[in-house]
Structures are given as C-alpha cells and as structure tokens.
Symmetry: D2
Subunit: 163 residues, 4 copies
C-alpha cells in the first residue's frame, strides 16, 4: 500500500538503512488508551508502526458528519496530529511531553461517510524539532485520492525535561 | 475584552462602517446542534456573534487532557475551525456548504485544564474565499497570553451550489 | 531522480493515465523572461516540465547568502512559488492570472552555498483551486535530504477573467 | 498608525510593561547591508524598531511585477521574513544564527505597483522558539486593507551555538 501510494520514502529523512524503532504498536496503543482519552472520542486507532511510517485510522461514526454529509475537518486534524505523535515517539521513544508546535492542513476532497486513514512520514528528525507530513485518504474512496495533506512540527523536550 | 486584547479590528477587512450580520447566534447554535454533532464531543459552545468577530468556547472536560496534563491540540483545532465557520456564515448567511480549504495553527502555550476560548476575525471576505485569523486563550490563564493562533481559509460555494 | 526521491506520484492527483501537458518548457521560460523579471534576480531557471512534476533551479549567487553562510529563505520561497506556478500552468495552460492564495514552508536543513532545486507535484487540481507540494534540495547536498518542503494553493481564475 | 490598524498589541506576548530592546534600527540596518545582500535585491529597508513591533518596507521597483501588473508574492515573502528576523533580533539581541523554521502566508489582495510595508509583532517569545505575525499592506492602497498576512516561527540557537 505504502509503495503504491508513492509516498515519499525514508530517503527523505536522509538516513542510511532502516531507522531503529523505539516504540511498539502496543506501547503506543497503551499511551492512547490511558493518556489520550480524546482519541477515543474521535475513533482513533493505531494500525501500524513501521520503520519509515506509521498509520492510524479514524473509525467512522455518524457524529463525524458535517453539513453536506461528509466527514468533518476536526476529525481529520485530530487523526493527523495523533499520527505525527505516534511517528515521533516511534523514533525517539516514549517521550510523552513532545508537543506539536505548528500544523498546516490542506483539505483536498470531501470524505464520504467511512473510515479515514492517515499515514505519517518524517521529513526531518532533529534534536529539538521533528517535521513530518501526513497523507489522509478515505476508505470510501481511492487511496490515491488524498482527502487532506498535513505538515506538522513537533518540539522534542531536552533530556532533562522529559519526565 | 476584545478591545483589551488588541485583536486586529475590522478595519483589517477594509470595510467602511459595520458589516451586516446575516446569521444570529441562535441560528448558528441550531446549526451546531443539528448539523455538527462532533461539536458536542468537543464541548463547543457559540458565545457571541458580533459585526466584527465571533467567539466560541470549548467547555472543559477531563477527557481533553493529553500527556503533561494540558488540553490537547485537536480540541483547539476543532474549536478554531468552528469559530471560523461561524464567522464566515455570520457574514454570508447560512451557506452550510462553505468548507475549510486550509488551516494553519501555531501552538504557543500549553493550556492548563479549563475552558478554551476562541475569537475569530476576518482578514478578507472575497466572493470565492474568506480568510480569517483566530486567537485562542485559556480561561485558566490570561486572555493576553494566547495558547494558539490560527489562520484559515474557507471556500464559499457559488450561488448555484449552495443547496 | 524523481523515482529515487520517492516523491508522491501522480496517483495522488487521482488521475488515470498521463495528464495532458498544456504548456511547454519553452513557453514557461518565455513567461519567466518577459513577465516575471524578479525571477532573474533570484537566478530562477525552469529545467523540466513533465506530466507529473516540474523542476526549477535557483542558480547560486553569492548574494543569496544569509548570516551563517547558507542560502537565504526568501530564495527558497521564491523558487518554490515559481515551481508551483509552472506546475499549475503546465496543467491548465498559460493562464497567467493564476495567483497564489497561500503558501506554507518548513525549512528543514540549511543549504550550503550552491544551486537549490525544486520539484513540484500536484495534490489536487480543482476548477477553482490547485494544491501542490514542492520538495527543495541543494545541489551541494544529497537529493534525499530536503532543505525545505512547501505546500501551496493557487487560485484559478474563472474562464471569463483569464485575460 | 499601528494603533489605527488595530494590530494585536504586545499584551499578546504576555509581558508586563515595555519589553527591552536589544537591537537598534541602525544595528539591524548594518546587518542587512553587510550580511543579507539579497535584501537589497528586494529593495528591503528597515524603518522602525519599536518595543512592540518592527516595520520594514520593500521599495518598489518595476522588476517586482508579475503577470497582471501587481507586486509578486516572493517580494512579499522576503519582506515578511526579514521583518520577523528584525523583530526577533530586537528582542534577543544580534543572534544572527536565528533561523526561520516555518512560515505561512495568506495572500489577501493583489498589491498595485508601489512600496509594500510590513509590520511584525510577537505572539510568543520562548527560549527556543519565537512565533510572530506580520501584516503587509501596500502604500498604493489603504493600510487597513492587508495585502498579505504571515505567521512564522524562528528557532533561537542555544547560547553556546550563537557564534
């Protein structure tokens, strides 16, 4: 799927070889369950944490609809932000205090009722900032027709402030 | 409050005199109740629709917290997007099919537990696009210390596609 | 090169088959020469217009340097904006009055002295808006290490206002 | 002028009293002249460094025009970025290695031929990041009709890396 979508591969991050994963899917699910209660409101579910990307899903609920009968923007924004969080933690470990500093989203197509999927990739992992992009598509549509595109920056706390 | 915050006044939109309001607070609340069910998930409440700005509130709930004990970004993004929607409709009337085309948010300070408020102002109202900015602050903090700042663009459907 | 970079392929635009090109490289160069005199200030040169992407270059000049001895941000922003312009015109034809409505750039790495390259891809081509992303890299570095990433929206004038 | 525009006042930064200026207008002009040669290409001139804002101007030149006879976006982006740089240095001192990490611009109206002015204000000054907004208007138009609005983040190097 990832290759089929042609999403920028990890070369974009400049690394040689596979990056090391520092968080398992199970560990991130636990963080979502216990520490991000709003994620359940939005039907968020972590699906894959891989060396070069993570994938999350917003499981459709009727209450996600906005006028016009399409999935509302805030659901997509919440999904994308959580995907970036999972991506950053997968590379730096469970540093829960990593926080978004900015997020820009372009809404491209209106998603028909159905699950929305998000795949996040790193553009840069620095000591203080991590920048990534997130592609969002609708299960009710084609994976090649993005419903939204996000870029976002996370701030990584210095080692002494991670607790 | 608005003046005290020094938020850009309507002069920025270039209008002479007071712009005409085309949507009442009650009408927007009805749209939220009946057509935006996700708004209730996020505790959103419309508080004021005025000629030069609108103000919405996210009524605090424990489930809004993220690691670190502060209000999560998706709540702020949902609040800001709804504020822009209210703002645009207040100026063009109940054109429910107006949709966000892009939104950029800078997270400035971590909001302690408590309600978050948002005030939206227009930067430009064109025939096809409306651009605005939204200032967000926390009731638990000072109104002059923004917790986030948003700019966003809404696409206004042509008259023949408004139904 | 394009494949090696793993940049999102045209599937992202949802098209079947190759999109039709409506502007040649020569035609865009003429527009740059005759109608965009600031492009010469920034050393901009169009290098390729292909069905799924365009590529432009900012030919290095000492006066592009900022403190720290790296290429200044405004050069990268001008390059990216021109790349998006070329991309949009390549798909809609020489509609010179197409204009940028918003642009977001993340600066990822400081480019050492040398040419900067930009490759632009469409995320969506609508009737009124075109959205794309631009990857920028430095000839003095590795193409897989982006120096900046841009998303941008162009407004496409209606047919009756294209002259 | 500033008050008349209603631009967010320094209260937005949360400071008590007047912030201390750590860079004079003359010092910033020297940095522009000696260290930012591209600024001259764009006709940039620093006009005011005040406790709560800075103001820069792009002195009009025919070569700034784009198709349609209006001032090109890259001139506005270069002007806004330089205004943010001046603003940040005015508050942290001549830390030349401060760099933009992201910039988002909304183009609101097409500026007729003439000088473009920019006024930058801080939204937050942290230890590692400074966030601000920039209002741009055209001398050929009304100061209350912005031609563009920018938000931008600068990264502030740690003390040991400032030289």
């Amino acid at each position: 799927m990832l290759a089929a979508m042609g999403v920028r591969d990890a070369g974009a991050v400049g690394g040689e070889g596979e990056p090391e994963l520092r968080l398992t899917l199970e560990a991130f699910r636990l963080i979502m369950d216990e520490r991000m209660p709003f994620a359940a409101l939005m039907g968020l579910r972590a699906e894959a944490i891989e060396p070069r990307s993570v994938r999350l899903r917003a499981v459709y609920d009727e209450c996600f609809l906005r006028p016009g009968g399409t999935v509302a923007g805030p659901i997509m924004m919440g999904l994308a932000d959580a995907a970036m969080y999972a991506l950053v933690l997968s590379r730096i470990g469970p540093v829960e205090l990593a926080v978004t500093t900015e997020l820009s989203i372009n809404f491209l197509r209106k998603p028909a009722p159905g699950d929305v999927l998000a795949e996040a990739r790193l553009l840069k992992l620095g000591k203080r900032l991590a920048v990534g992009e997130v592609a969002l598509w609708s299960e009710s549509g084609s994976p090649s027709e993005l419903v939204a595109h996000v870029t976002s920056t996370y701030s990584i706390p210095p080692p002494e402030r991670r607790r």
